[in-house]
Structure formats: structure tokens, C-alpha cells
Symmetry: C2
Subunit: 340 residues, 2 copies
């Protein structure tokens, strides 16, 4: 089990990333080796600080540049062949490592792995699987942002990958697959979802039909299938609204001394509430469909989030998720696609 970590990815890189790697080295003895990829001059200090510079389970690979958040991923892929994320994708391609972890530019991680590492047989495009909190537990959204424009065949493949992930990673038997749309009835939706609905209905999966923006938070299904534009807006919208709610709570619970005292008494309730949506616990979302494992962390990842993303990567490899996806795709016998 060897895992490469993009030391330069994320808002607080490389400092926080190295901290997370140091924690992972201690907590996960089953990981044979972590390969830290980044500008060696820039990470040296943090290696010393964490006292891992001479750790026998840590290797270093130099990468000269980093893809900045404002850059176009396609241009970056062409112009920065020596970036930390493309270097990670190459290590994965060469089977030097079996998984990579990055909290950097999501589009660059998707483009690098898609172009350099390549996709699994039967998969045209990889998809991000994000986990969101619902009333009755968590649910998975695929695609949460890898593909802005999709064809029905892509969504059908996302459904299979999401199902395998829900089943073999989270242990959900016969996961319920829903298609994100604007009405529960078959006839409702846009051109993409209407076509996709037909495909999903014929597949050997537990397809529960169209699901709506509100019902996905009510436990109507385990996997929500949608294009990456939609999925990204849902993911970020959830984040934005959750932050707004915390802001309003602060406001309403401090309006007078009695409320303040009550809030103080129940302060652990606020902590529990915050924990429900704590992205750091998950650490990262897998990019499903790549021939190798790629875990994408939140840009604002903490050291704990980086550590947990490394754990997700290790589990993803351990559970042989890609073998599961390949065999489920074969079973589904989806129509062929000419899409590159």
C-alpha cells in the first residue's frame, strides 16, 4: 500500500498537508509508504517541524510547479507538465503508487488523472462521489463536479460507480439509486434526465426513479446521480446554507441574556450539530472511474482532513473498489459510446 500526496494542493499547503501526512504515518501503520510530491525547498521546513524528514516510510518526489486555483485546468495540464498534481498522476500511471490524494485544484486533478492515468475499461469519464448529510444519514452525490456537460451514458456509468461505492465502501446492500430531477414522476425533467431515466430503468440496479432537491435530504435514496454542474451546485449550496444557518443561530441565540444562558447550558448540542456536517471527518471524495485511486480533498482541508483523506485512499484500495466497478460495468452491458 503506497500512497502519493500532493503536498502543494489546498489553501493551507504545504504546511497543513505535511502535518496531515505526519499524523497518517503514526495512525495508519498498514500504509507501507507515503510519497510526498511537491517543491522540496518549500516543504523541507515542515518535514523538520513534524520530525518526519528521516521517516523510513516517507519518500519525497520533487515537482517544480503547482496549478493555482484561478488557472484553467486544460491550459495548466498543457503548460505545467511538472506540476505536483500531474506528477502524482504519473506516479499512479506507472503503478509506483496505488493511490493519490490532493486537496488542490479539482479540475486539474480530474484532467491530469483522466489524461495521464486514464479511465477504467467501460468508463468514458470519471466522476466525483461526494458524501452529504441527510435526515436519515448520509447520501452520495455522483457527479459532484468533475464534468460540467454530460451525456445520458455518462450518468448511467456514474450510477454504476456510485452503486459500487455505496455497496463496497459503505456496506450498503442493494443501494437505492435516484436520478436528480425536478419532479418525482417519470415524465418530468430536462432533456438529459429524461433520456437518462430510460437508461437507468433498464439497468440491473435498484433504481428508485427521479428524486428532487428536497427529498434527497429526507433519505429517499443512497446515491443521487446528476451531472457535475448540478452536483457541484448542490454540494456547495449545502455548504453555503449550512454556514448561513450557523450564522443565524449565533444571531438568534445572543439576542438577550436569557437566550445566551440557555445556549450556554446546551453548548454541547451546538458542537454535535456542527459535527454532522464536518467535511474534515470524510477527508476527501474519491474520483471514481480512474485506473487507480484518486481522492480529492476540500480546498480548505485541515491536517485532520488530509489524514482522513489518506485513510479513505487506503480503504478504497483495500476494498478493491476498482475491480468491483469493472465487474459491475460489465454486468450492466451499457450501450457503447464513442465519446473520448
Amino acid at each position: 500500500m503506497k500512497i502519493a500526496v500532493d503536498a502543494m494542493g489546498g489553501d493551507y499547503a504545504p504546511s497543513i498537508v505535511v502535518d496531515g501526512v505526519a499524523q497518517a504515518l503514526v495512525e495508519f501503520p498498514e500504509i507501507e509508504e507515503i510519497v510526498l510530491v511537491g517543491h522540496l525547498d518549500k516543504i523541507a521546513y515542515y518535514l523538520e517541524k513534524n520530525n518526519i524528514a528521516n521517516d523510513p516510510r516517507l519518500s519525497l518526489v520533487h515537482a517544480n510547479s503547482v496549478v493555482e486555483m484561478k488557472e484553467s485546468s486544460t491550459l495548466a495540464l498543457r503548460g505545467k507538465k511538472d506540476s505536483s498534481i500531474t506528477t502524482c498522476a504519473k506516479l499512479l500511471k506507472e503503478k509506483r503508487v496505488s493511490a493519490i490524494v490532493s486537496a488542490g485544484h479539482t479540475g486539474a486533478a480530474v484532467a491530469s488523472t483522466k489524461v495521464i492515468t486514464r479511465t477504467l475499461p467501460g468508463i468514458n469519464r470519471p466522476a466525483i462521489a461526494a458524501t452529504l448529510p441527510g435526515r436519515e444519514g448520509y447520501f452520495i452525490v455522483v457527479d459532484a463536479g468533475a464534468n460540467t456537460d454530460c451525456e445520458p451514458i455518462n450518468l448511467a456509468q456514474f450510477a454504476i460507480m456510485g452503486e459500487a461505492y455505496a455497496h463496497y465502501f459503505f456496506g450498503i446492500s442493494n443501494p437505492r439509486i435516484g436520478l436528480l430531477s425536478v419532479g418525482g414522476e417519470d415524465i418530468k425533467g430536462n432533456e438529459l434526465t429524461k433520456e437518462t431515466f430510460k437508461l437507468l430503468s433498464d439497468m440491473p440496479i435498484n433504481f428508485v426513479g427521479n428524486v428532487e432537491g428536497d427529498s434527497i435530504f429526507e433519505g429517499i435514496c443512497d446515491v443521487v446521480v446528476c451531472d457535475g454542474f448540478m452536483g457541484n451546485v448542490v454540494l456547495k449550496g449545502t455548504e453555503g446554507l449550512a454556514k448561513a444557518v450557523l450564522h443565524w443561530m449565533k444571531d438568534v441565540f445572543t439576542r438577550n441574556p436569557v437566550r445566551k444562558a440557555g445556549a450556554m447550558m446546551a453548548r454541547n448540542a451546538f458542537k454535535d450539530l456542527k459535527a454532522i456536517g464536518d467535511a474534515d471527518e470524510f477527508g476527501g471524495a474519491p474520483l471514481l472511474g480512474i485506473d487507480g485511486t484518486c481522492i480529492i480533498g476540500h480546498g480548505g482541508s485541515s491536517a485532520k482532513a488530509v489524514k482522513n483523506a489518506i485513510k479513505v485512499a487506503a480503504d478504497f484500495v483495500k476494498y478493491r473498489l476498482n475491480d468491483r466497478i469493472i465487474s459491475r460495468i460489465q454486468e450492466a452491458q451499457l450501450p457503447e459510446s464513442e465519446q473520448e
Copy 2:
């Protein structure tokens, strides 16, 4: 000021709708006449109950059928020519009333008014303008569900209509218009938003560029422009997550007696929090771009929501919103569209 109300629209129709009309008759003396449209046998009891059967400001128009939530709006429009919503659309077309209010089948309201009442000059498709709560106050989403598939020109028209609504209805001077997308940078988005971005950049509006799922809740703009599929998912997703949060709060604040006591002390804070997202306060969302006023209520509208929707209809007429939209559309000199 004459307003038609669809007595049969909504989950609790006709009972709740008639209650709302009765309240409106008392509270809004500026409304000259309310025309209640529905199956007269089915509403007679509720008119008596509310003691408005002989109210001189109330008229009744019989409609034989109602479009059920599960029906396709296009089929319903063809098959049920005597439904309550098509009857409302006809009254609006004939200028018998200047506004209509319905909490029934949204698609049927959109299709009926679009086909029977017709759109304003320069508008190809009407759009629903929904109001959502953000950290720094409310923001408007256009289109919140009228059009599942859109062209860039539609979104450009939505931007103009949303701007006029924000300015003349809510009094926001120079409203900031944002385009819902997956990245703040110009280069990001899907095919629809990339083309729309160019159109909006050239228009005489305060276009603030792409806005993301999280930033719309942080007060980044006053009007969020998107297609109706996207807008519907955002609107319903907000509703679903808000309900999930209330569910979690109930859970975490009742886990032990100390927390329960604290929550009891701060109980008015919970009430204030609920009030922030109370859809009943708004009552309804206007369908912008119709040659007349059409206010669409939430399916689960309470009597208060119906009353407030009638108030929104009256204000919409009073502020001459449609004249504003027509002149702003003329000023914008958008490219012509062949779209029906």
C-alpha cells in the same frame, strides 16, 4: 385592482384557499374584487364557513376540473380546457382581472399563462422568481422552475426581469446580477453558462459574474440567474436541508435534561430561526414575463400564505412591474430569438 384566485390549487385546497381569500378581503381594502375560480359545489361550504358567500367584493367563476399534481402540464392543458388554472389564465387574457394567484400545479400555471395569456413583448419564456434567505438578507433566483431546458437568450431575459423585480418590487438600487456556475472565474461553467456569460457581460446591468452554490448564500449578489431545472433543485434543496437542520436540532437539543432546559430557556431563539425561512411570509413567487400578473404559491400553502400571495399580486400590479420589464428589455437591445 381585480385578482383571480385558483380555489382548487394546493395541497389543502379548496378549504385553505378560501380561508386565505377571506383574510385578504378583510386585510386589503385596496383590492376592489377577488374572483374565486373553482368547482362551485366544492367551495360553497367554505364560503359559508368564512361568512363571505355574500361579500360584495367577492365573485365566483365556475371551473369544472383541476390539474392534479401527477399530470403532465402539456397534456392537462390540452385535455382539461375547463380547469381552474386555465380559467384563471383566460380571465387574465380577457383583462377581466389584472392578476391571478395559484398554489396548484406549477407547470400547469406556467403552460396555461404562456399559451393562453401570452408573454410580454421581447420575452420568449416566462420565469419564476423565488426569494431565498441568505446570510446578509434575501436573494432572488430566476428561473426557479418554469423552464427545464434553456438557451442563453432565455437566461439573458431572466436577468433583465430579475433586475426589474429586485429594483421595483424590493427597492434594491442597481441590483447585483450573478450567473450561477461552478467557479468564480469567467472560464468556468457549462456550455449554457459560458455563452450566457458573454451575453450578460454586454448588457446594461450590474453583472457581477459567475456565482457559486455557496457564495449565493453569503450575499454575493441580489439576483441569481440560472435555468429552471437548476433553480428548482436549489430552491427545493434549500427547503430540504432546512428541514433536515430542524430535525437535527430537535435531536441534539433533547439528548439530556441540561440541554433540554437550555433549549427551553432559549425557545424564542428557535422561533426566530424558523421565521427566517418561513415561505408563508412571502406567500408566492411571481411568474415574470407574462402579459399580466401571475403569482405561484407553494403547494403546501397555508391560509396566511394564500393571503400573502394575494398581497404580492396586488403590489406587483401597483408597482407596474410589467411596464418596467418592457422598458428594461427595450433598453437592453438583446439579440432577436426565433424561439417560440
